[in-house]
């Protein structure tokens, strides 16, 4: 496992929606080592307040040493990052955690909800590169409304996988939840569902996969301080009792490893 602390220069800043931002950084060591589903810890500014780094899943990496993060301006850390500019340098630590376990011989169904779309681009890119026949694969993107989904659609279309969208308010794609699309799409036997999004979406997908016999991998989030197994602050309930830690055991888990609320 190789982790790196890089001073990464911002080379592109995209305001994809009112509060949704995508930042491209020069971080060649992290880009070279990263796998889909892994994350980085980024320091927002150099002051002691806010003190801790913030976790961001890797949106995608490029062979020329760039990484991207995609996030919403929702708190103090993300607000600072949402007001950075091209040329500024951020302290980035990663790649961290266990990413998606891709089975290239089985059909894939990628589901991203809201900001959970972020790691799905990296995964789609990886899956697209592993084989040429994607007739059995599927990408499903969802969000509250058009602005959460539409700005990212063109990037996902690159890979030639079937793409479906849903929004809560019906302003883009079908009106409803991503799970409804997954249900109606008659997944091929043996499909692996890879998902990231709000807890209730992940739980609904887990339930669906459990009853229909599909493997389901979910990327979850948690408050965390270190991102590398030192602080033990990011525990979540495990199905087997006790806890798992999002930063080192995850962030991608087999859904049945986790204890779900209901």
């Amino acid at each position: 496992m190789s982790q790196h602390q890089e001073k990464a220069r911002i080379i592109r800043f995209e305001q994809l929606a009112d509060l949704n931002v995508r930042i491209t950084l020069e971080a060649p060591l992290i880009a070279a080592a990263a796998e889909a589903g892994q994350f980085v810890m980024i320091r927002s500014g150099n002051s002691q307040d806010p003190l801790l780094r913030r976790p961001f899943s890797l949106h995608q990496t490029s062979s020329d040493g760039h990484i991207q993060i995609y996030f919403k301006d929702v708190g103090r850390g993300t607000n600072i990052l949402a007001h950075t500019r091209v040329g500024e340098v951020l302290d980035v630590f990663g790649p961290l955690g266990r990413g998606f376990r891709i089975d290239k011989d089985r059909p894939a169904c990628l589901v991203g909800g809201g900001l959970g779309i972020a790691p799905m681009l990296f995964l789609a890119k990886k899956i697209a590169s592993l084989s040429t026949d994607h007739s059995r694969d599927l990408i499903v993107l969802g969000g509250r409304s058009r602005e959460d989904v539409e700005p990212l659609v063109d990037d996902f279309k690159e890979f030639g996988l079937a793409l479906h969208c849903a929004t809560d308010d019906g302003s883009y794609g079908i009106k409803g939840f991503v799970t409804e699309i997954v249900k109606s799409e008659e997944l091929k036997p043996g499909t692996v569902v890879y998902a990231c999004g709000p807890d209730n979406m992940l739980e609904a997908l887990h339930e669906l996969c459990r009853t229909r016999g599909f493997d389901c991998q979910v990327s979850v989030e948690s408050v965390m301080a270190c991102g590398m197994g030192a602080c033990l602050g990011c525990n979540i309930d495990a199905a087997a009792g006790g806890y798992v830690h999002v930063c080192i055991d995850g962030p991608v888990f087999n859904a049945e490893e986790l204890a779900w609320n209901s």
Partner: protein
């Protein structure tokens, strides 16, 4: 006679904390550095003064339910709940690695009764690779109805005595700041035979989620750490170091070389880096470099000139 250039290249950072000789005063605080291996590719472990591993109890502890941590202004609260693998798994799974790294390893121990501390110390006696024990007396004393050992001088002394009676390595006692008279606590553990004291552990605090009208932490209260507690830590290190003759190790919000210098001047013989490890995994090694550079540029004969050199 040594070459002058040798001293230029290698500033004398050596300190001795109650029978434990360190190549420099920089240690990593328990609970912020895992079992050291997590950091092996991120810095040069052998350049540190010592590493202090995650606190160990007799039996494994699962720790507290989530949410365990929350950021606060210039700091963080944690209620990890002393999650650890227990002493048997620690010895079986962690010690062979720790015994092989070229840096003194201090094992932090914790228990609910005096007897547990004694049993732990006995179990760790003779285990290869342990340079010292650090005794965490901030956990609740179950037999005494949850009163922390760390807030009662007599109880703190009893724990210290039990560990000293069983241990075959120097014993450092880590004091809680949640007391009215830190000097009294320091004197109590010194009197009971402690070889050194380290302070401060976290300050008890809490955070409230207004939206949910609930405490942010599942444990309701947690320990505050980070730069926010540095002034309190400095004051307590100052008071404690003047109250005892054994070495004092300063802990609390140390992130920069200047922070470390402040603690040394206030009376600390060595320091521990805690929360800062989460933000910059390399910070402890950077502090070794920073202290070395300071000793050189100030033309000091050694870092020891700084200890307690505060002019009051």
């Amino acid at each position: 006679m040594e070459f002058v250039t040798d001293r230029d290249q290698y500033p004398d950072l050596r300190v001795n904390i109650g029978g434990l000789a360190l190549r420099n005063p920089v240690m990593t605080a328990s609970g912020t550095f895992g079992y050291a291996r997590e950091f092996e590719n991120l810095l040069n472990l052998h350049r540190l003064g010592a590493v202090i591993v995650k606190g160990i109890s007799l039996e494994p502890r699962p720790g507290n339910p989530p949410q365990r941590i929350v950021e606060t202004p210039c700091g963080m609260l944690n209620a990890i709940g002393l999650q650890n693998v227990g002493v048997e798994r620690f010895i079986a799974e962690k010690m062979s690695y720790l015994a092989g790294i070229d840096v003194p390893v201090v094992v932090n121990i914790l228990g609910d009764t005096v007897e547990e501390y004694r049993l732990l110390s006995e179990r760790l006696r003779g285990v290869e690779g342990i340079a010292a024990l650090e005794v965490n007396i901030s956990c609740p004393n179950v037999k005494k109805g949850g009163v922390a050992f760390g807030t009662d001088p007599a109880m703190a002394a009893a724990v210290t005595e039990a560990v000293k009676g069983a241990a075959d390595v120097p014993v450092m006692v880590k004091l809680s700041p949640n007391v009215a008279d830190i000097a009294a606590m320091a004197r109590a553990v010194e009197g009971a035979g402690a070889d050194s004291i380290s302070l401060i552990n976290t300050l008890i605090g809490m955070a409230v989620d207004v939206k949910r009208r609930k405490p942010v932490l599942a444990n309701v209260i947690g320990g505050l750490s980070g730069p926010a507690i540095k002034p309190v830590a400095l004051r307590m290190v100052y008071q404690a170091s003047r109250a005892v003759n054994i070495p004092v190790i300063g802990i609390g919000g140390i992130e920069t070389t200047e922070d470390a210098l402040e603690f040394l001047l206030a009376g600390a013989t060595a320091i521990q880096v805690g929360t800062a490890n989460f933000i910059n995994p390399r910070v402890s090694e950077e502090l070794v470099d920073g202290l070395g550079a300071y000793v050189k540029t100030q033309k000091l004969s050694s870092v020891r000139e700084l200890i307690g050199a505060l002019e009051v």
